[in-house]
Symmetry: D2
Subunit: 271 residues, 4 copies
């Protein structure tokens, strides 16, 4: 389209003489429908909450916010591990900057069978792809996985029963070869008293209750077991993990976190 | 599948002798991918937050929660105005109840052109379908529409400028013939100082700024203008409207609401 | 103070000829420090989120929003069951309206002993006072109480253990004589597998775990037991109750609710 | 009190042989009433959301969560810049750890006069005190300040009007001498098109509207101006600042952030 609009002042492009560069400027919390890769089905359509930023050198007054939305609109049908570097490079180029940051968070659904009756249902996981392009490309997968935890102390000291609750594990994972969100989620679910399901019939509920009681875990245990699982997952170079229990006997959470670097050189990867 | 699992006690089915019927029992805040009708494209895939309830007569101890998820899983690919009664009837039948309630809320995206440059972007609207099946079928569309409002008082008393802000209009609409979410959204957007966009280039920003300044509106004006628009919309029999301004000069909101019944007989409709 | 400011147009006071009265106009979500009554200590200082509305007759363009904040500022040190009617009347008078609505929601803390060691801690409850003044005065107490629930079905069908979780009960209570928030909260806490605490030492944790296992309750049971408790509470004329379990084996909630009127005449009370 | 309870297994104290130390374990999102310092009135009572963590060496299975609540209960009446190191040291000692972390976030109210009529109202600011004790003591003040921003581009290119909106500035500040929250808030409010108020009469609204129109600012300008203000504030050694505009013409935010270290040695201070 030939731009035939009358010229308007470009205020953002005006000089700024305060000598203060900004680390990030851009748009935050825009919701957009996107298509991501799905290990079982090829692709999955979902709705993302997106942040897009670039750096702003000290001599410029502002950035051009509308260009972020234009880029998002162009690439929304293929936002995934393989295209992330390309989108970030496009941001750097179109915004004429040295650094670009992209954070895409979305609900992701996996079809799951109940453990005994094999009844099918879809489970929601909170997932994300976060990346930065400077001279190098840095990227991480993010997952938020609901779990069940039975308290080992409560089980040990009580004559019967044991308090348990819904918990949530959040993991951020850097990697140096292609990695499925599904594989990270699987490692996290293994590190729980029991995984959770969208649909459970009574034989499933019996199974899940007994399995959880047999495997009591503190948030501390959950984090450590996730660490062991992620270290064993091919391609992982760095991770951070946190677990939060929405305690059933309190009105607050129990919390634990840690981080581990498996390959110092690979943290900023040219994936 | 032939159920070959050993018999387990059906605790929910046990009698309760407290003589207290419950109005609603069921599941709340389950997230599920769904497919809804789209006026421009036929269908749209999105992610819903769903509540499903039935009544519970006084003589039963509990309901069977897993059946709600099974029904949702079966119908998720066609949740819309035309199928809502069928899903609610299925809930009544499978849960053996006299009343069923279904609330499905989801982000909905409409492609929108910037007003001058015609740049394309997708705008998000919070939408919902809420319904109840007793002997009769009752249903409403729900929309949550972001708008811009310029304060008429501020414009009138100030020598230049006028405070304005993002606002949000929420409308609940009953109807007696098929109604598009898009048509309700259009009526709401007309009732603003300016509609909002996901992408605006500078000629668009000039247009939007000036248009909004020319049409200052209080939240009170917004609600009244939405009322006029919905009364003129074919098929609408009842509505409730509220407008909230996230005031730019305060840290709280300005608020207005009202409700109107256009057809007493049609409120509970056999649509 | 003598108002010596130059006259400015009163846009809100201008006529509107659309013939559309508004049910509520006012301010929403203003946060304010307030002082409420405390059964144990006389008074308690907390921070409220407040909504204040009046009706707007069809012939007026708008209301005067700043007056709501002025009234809140005057009365913030004594917002309670005894002063609510006075504040609402002040709103009606100062805003020159026929109806006034006031909703004040706040965290409320009660000192609580752990059940065995008697260790002291403060428990937070979400409380509220909601009222309307027309020709009559109508008011309700609102409480939001965290609880523990052990699943009766899971306990019955499992060889050991039982899934349990944090739940939340919300109750809205009308009354015809003075009623303490504390007394409503006590009735709700009794209707649980176990109440929850801010601090529990190991002997307490053993006690709470075993007590909860001995008293399994569905959300349906919780709501019915709250009903029985509130019916027996002196002064209560009407209530609505809902219970939500943040299921430990699912990523969604189980839900139940009902409502009961104990005294048709007393619902709108001249308290 | 002499502990006369029968001995119960101390599961948390059991060994763990996985060789994985945890960076933080503790409690999260506990709400508690606290008393903080107030520049105008001496002290202010408010309600905090609190996180308390310690590190967990690899050889221990878990931490003792109830001790955190006991410490909070003891110190809640004096949580401020002067007592923070003492509370953190108490956490280290009572939890037998090498590191302790404390995050206390709360609404904070300041009495403010409307700019022309001098009408009094209370403005809410989101404030926090965050600290860590290792061998050294590190602490920061956190403020979240609502502001108004008028868009410079919109003003420049439009024949009349200019879009403006509510924004929010968040700042994290390290310091090497006592610093009032009030003084940080004042610097942030200066860096806006206009500060916001809880109550404004019409002469104030005229003043605020015109002042804002005279001082248009992008989020980029806001962040840079806050930088200049904090650099000039006595005692500040490091800060991070972010500004977010809840755009009135979009349904997403404009965002900018940066960070600056003024005194490399003072960042971890023995204040």
């Amino acid at each position: 389209m030939i731009n035939t609009f009358p010229p308007l002042a470009d205020v953002q492009n005006m000089p700024d003489n305060r000598q203060i560069p900004l680390r990030k400027v851009g748009i935050k919390n825009i919701r957009y429908p996107i298509t991501v890769l799905d290990k079982a089905k090829g692709t999955q359509q979902t709705v993302a909450s997106v942040n897009m930023y670039v750096n702003l050198p000290h001599q410029f007054k502002g950035t051009h916010m509308s260009r972020f939305v234009e880029i998002l609109n162009e690439y929304r049908r293929e936002i995934n591990v393989k295209t992330f570097a390309k989108i970030l490079t496009e941001m750097k180029n179109r915004l004429d900057s040295q650094e670009a940051h992209l954070e895409v968070d979305f609900p992701y659904f996996i079809e799951k069978q109940a453990p005994v009756t094999k009844t099918l249902g879809l489970m929601e996981y909170g997932c994300g792809l976060h990346g930065t392009m400077t001279d190098q490309f840095d990227m991480m997968l993010v997952v938020r996985v609901p779990i069940t935890t039975v308290c080992p102390c409560s089980k040990e000291i009580s004559d019967y029963g044991a308090h348990n609750q819904r918990g949530e594990v959040r993991a951020w994972v850097r990697f140096d070869r292609f990695l499925w969100l599904e594989d990270v989620i699987t490692e996290v679910e293994k590190a729980s008293s029991s995984e959770v399901y969208s649909v459970l019939k009574r034989p499933d509920e019996k199974f899940v209750t007994e399995r959880a009681y047999e495997r009591p875990m503190f948030v501390e245990d959950v984090v450590r077991t996730v660490c062991q699982g992620l270290k064993a997952l091919s391609g992982v170079t760095w991770f951070a993990v946190e677990a939060e229990n929405f305690e059933s006997i309190h009105n607050h959470s129990a919390y634990a976190c840690t981080t581990q670097c498996l390959n110092e050189k690979a943290v900023q990867t040219q994936f």
